[in-house]
């Protein structure tokens, strides 16, 4: 292979990659504003499902399991109706991304699982309505996971106790505890809080 060949091959590769880069940049430039808007809308829609008819204002960020999460204030007719907090639970094979809605007394109203990588067929039952509905009306003292029938606490999914605990005793409990600590006791809502 002569020097001329090497030059030709290099030039060929460089030109093709440059063109490829420009095409990607062009598509990205056109698509990214739409993607950003879609993500914002998806977040607002997720919040509206938790507390219907409320207006949401982001209060700040917090950290759990080294992941950044957000929390919001929900207002109905100018009065505070409750709070929504994003939280993560360390599950069997993933971190479970959870949204929790509480009322003014910090009683859980509704939870929603936004993302997880738990075992299909076992752990993924945390997405089912019967499991999520258990959280309605639970205060922070009643988030214990019980194996077997329970109405006061949270009933474990058979075969997926770790996933159940991750949602209930990790994500939800820590999220609610953080809200109580910052909003009820701290008073101030715009502090960046670090939680381990």
């Amino acid at each position: 292979m002569t020097g001329k060949d090497i030059f030709k091959i290099t030039l060929n590769l460089v030109i093709v990659y440059l063109i490829g880069g420009f095409i990607l940049a062009f598509v990205y430039a056109n698509a990214s504003p739409k993607i950003f808007k879609n993500n914002e809308k998806a977040e607002q829609d997720a919040l509206k499902l938790l507390i219907p008819g409320a207006e949401f204002k982001k209060l700040g960020d917090w950290t759990i399991h080294d992941k950044h999460a957000k929390y919001f204030e929900a207002k109905k007719d100018g009065e505070i109706a409750g709070y929504v907090i994003q939280s993560f639970g360390k599950g069997y094979s993933s971190y479970i991304n959870t949204f929790i809605a509480v009322d003014k007394e910090f009683t859980v109203q509704k939870i929603n699982i936004l993302g997880h990588g738990e075992t299909p067929g076992l752990g993924d039952e945390i997405e089912t309505d019967w499991f999520k509905d258990q959280f309605r009306g639970k205060t922070i003292e009643h988030l214990k996971v019980i194996k077997g029938d329970t109405k006061d606490d949270i009933q474990a999914i058979s075969g997926a106790t770790i996933s159940t605990r991750a949602v209930s005793e990790d994500a939800v409990k820590n999220g609610v505890a953080f809200l109580i600590k910052t909003i009820k006791e701290g008073g101030s809502t715009d502090v960046q809080h670090k939680q381990n």
């Binding site: 093709v16 598509v27 056109n30 990214s32 809308k41 067929g121």
Partner: protein, 218 residues
């Protein structure tokens, strides 16, 4: 490979579905196919995404085949494949965000599909645009067919349900049995079992009926 360019377009299309079916015959791209086929809907959408990328990559490589230096063809194929995958991802996120939220994770996996690189190397870089497009469609439909069959089997046997997409973002879950008959089938280990069983069945049907038909026509 020179003989492949002489066969008819119909045979070229069927080649990817039966004779060189990516999963059932060549046993390529098994890893992603096992990862996503635990419910029917995921299998169908993943198959469609592969069908699209495979066809577009084949067309692009075929158009570029005269300007690619043979010594650097592999990095260029990789650029074309990852480029199309990225474009697909960005367009889906922008225009069909609901679908993207559900299958976006799997789209990125297509970059690592051996089957797409194999068709670029073995076929599209040596043939003109129309046969390359037909080859891409055939391989893609074959892959889509395989993923649909595998995910149908795994979800039905493993969970007793079938998740049928009723639109781009909506789905309906049919429940046939209210327990989980053979739960291992939806777990990763069951993926290997399912692919093995269906691969044997596919080859048995092929050997028994297709070959006979081929013999009769000679």
């Amino acid at each position: 490979m020179s003989s492949t360019s002489k066969i008819s377009l119909k045979d070229q299309f069927l080649n990817g579905i039966i004779k060189e079916n990516t999963i059932f015959k060549l046993a390529l791209s098994l890893c992603p196919s096992i990862a996503v086929t635990n419910n029917l809907k995921n299998g169908i959408f993943m198959g469609l995404a592969v069908l699209f990328v495979q066809t577009m990559v084949n067309i692009t490589i075929s158009l570029m085949r005269k300007i690619i230096q043979p010594k650097v063809r592999l990095p260029i194929f990789m650029l074309v494949i990852s480029g199309w995958v990225t474009i697909t991802q960005m367009l889906m996120a922008a225009f069909v965000p609901d679908v993207y939220a559900k299958v976006g994770l799997y789209i990125a996996l297509i970059v690592a599909f051996a089957s797409i690189l194999a068709r670029a190397e073995m076929f599209a870089s040596k043939n003109s645009i129309v046969p390359s497009m037909v080859d891409g469609l055939g391989m893609g439909v074959g892959f889509w067919f395989a993923l649909t069959v595998i995910s149908f089997f795994r979800e039905l046997v493993g969970k007793g349900t079938l998740t049928v997409p009723t639109g781009l973002a909506s789905q309906h879950v049919f429940t046939f049995i209210n327990t989980k008959p053979v739960l291992i089938m939806v777990l990763p280990a069951g993926g290997f079992l399912a692919v093995g069983i269906l691969m044997a069945l596919f080859n048995w049907i092929d050997a028994r009926y297709m070959k006979k038909a081929a013999h009769a026509s000679h």
